[in-house]
Amino acid sequence: MARVSVDVMPKPEILDPQGQAVAGALPRLGFSGVREVRQGKRFELEVDDTVDDTVLHRIAATLLANPVIEDWRVTRLSDQP
């Protein structure tokens, strides 16, 4: 068993109006100095040892992310349950 995270982010060239809205709200709340916010999503998966990185990237490319508009990063969090 392993815990794996898949972080999905909009590609750099894709407009991210949600991130922009968050960035716009920060100064109103008194937080200065944040130049840009990009909003993505994170999946955490518990997988059997049979699921290798190749399979994880296929899972990400097929379902978790849309490769047309999103990039992803697979990270193994730990090999302990």
Binding site: P10, E13, I14, L15, P17, Q18, A21, L63, L64, N66, V68, I69
Partner: protein, 225 residues
């Protein structure tokens, strides 16, 4: 014999009833198709209507694109069956890879519900033959994820091959690339658009009857086959 046009219902579909009504009003037979049933019941064309299939979870249209019925729709489309995706149906076609690009959150994040003018830029597709070239039509738009995006190469290809079928006449209210409202597959049989032609079929309920042309177009296409 009347043409048989299938209208797919997914969990969360909203506009299947209106789409079926538009089909009947245009003089064809509307066949209800169910997302979990891969059988297409001998339809001649398929409409994927609007709504929020699977609650738009993950991404709009993402889960629906893997439904059993979509396997059959994909195979039928590859054999040349006309397929129309409206709003959520357009999103599903993009997620399924039947049309290029993707539909993302509207610029300014607002859900838009308004009548929009579209220009019909290609009248040689299976779904637009009844329109005049460059005809302007008034159709309701109602979507939160309607901003069409694609990489520069894809956009250039769509323009070069005249596959931008519908374009917002005025700057796209949702921020769509190239003001794109609808596109077609290379063979012109698969068309997707964000605005709702099935809501513009009767003067009592819609801003115009311009939407009926989409259905009458495919009936002409089927008759000629």
């Amino acid at each position: 014999m009347d043409a048989r046009i299938g209208v797919v219902t997914f969990p969360g579909t909203l506009d299947d009833v209106d789409a079926a009504r538009a089909v009947r009003l245009a003089g064809a037979y509307a066949v209800s198709l169910w997302h979990a049933d891969a059988e297409l019941h001998e339809v001649d064309a398929v409409i994927l209507p609007g709504g929020f299939s699977y609650g738009d979870y993950l991404r709009a249209g993402a889960i629906a694109s893997f439904a059993p019925v979509m396997r059959s729709v994909r195979e039928a489309a590859q054999r040349g069956m006309p397929v129309l995706g409206i709003c959520n149906g357009f999103q599903i076609l993009c997620e399924a890879g039947l049309l290029p690009g993707a539909l993302t959150r509207n610029a300014h994040l607002r859900f838009l519900c308004r009548d929009v003018w579209l220009r019909v830029e290609n009248v040689d597709t299976a779904w637009t033959g009844s329109y005049r070239a460059e005809q302007e039509i008034l159709i309701p738009l109602k979507s939160g994820d309607g901003r069409y995006v694609a990489d520069q190469h894809t956009l250039a290809e769509l323009e070069r091959e005249r596959r931008v079928v519908f374009r917002y006449r005025d700057p796209a209210p949702n921020g769509s690339a190239h003001d794109i409202a609808g596109i077609a597959s290379p063979n012109g049989r698969v068309v997707g658009l964000m605005p709702h032609p099935e809501h513009a079929i009767e003067s009592a309920t819609g801003p115009s009857t311009d939407g009926l042309g989409v259905i009458s177009s495919v009936l002409t296409t089927l008759l000629a086959a």
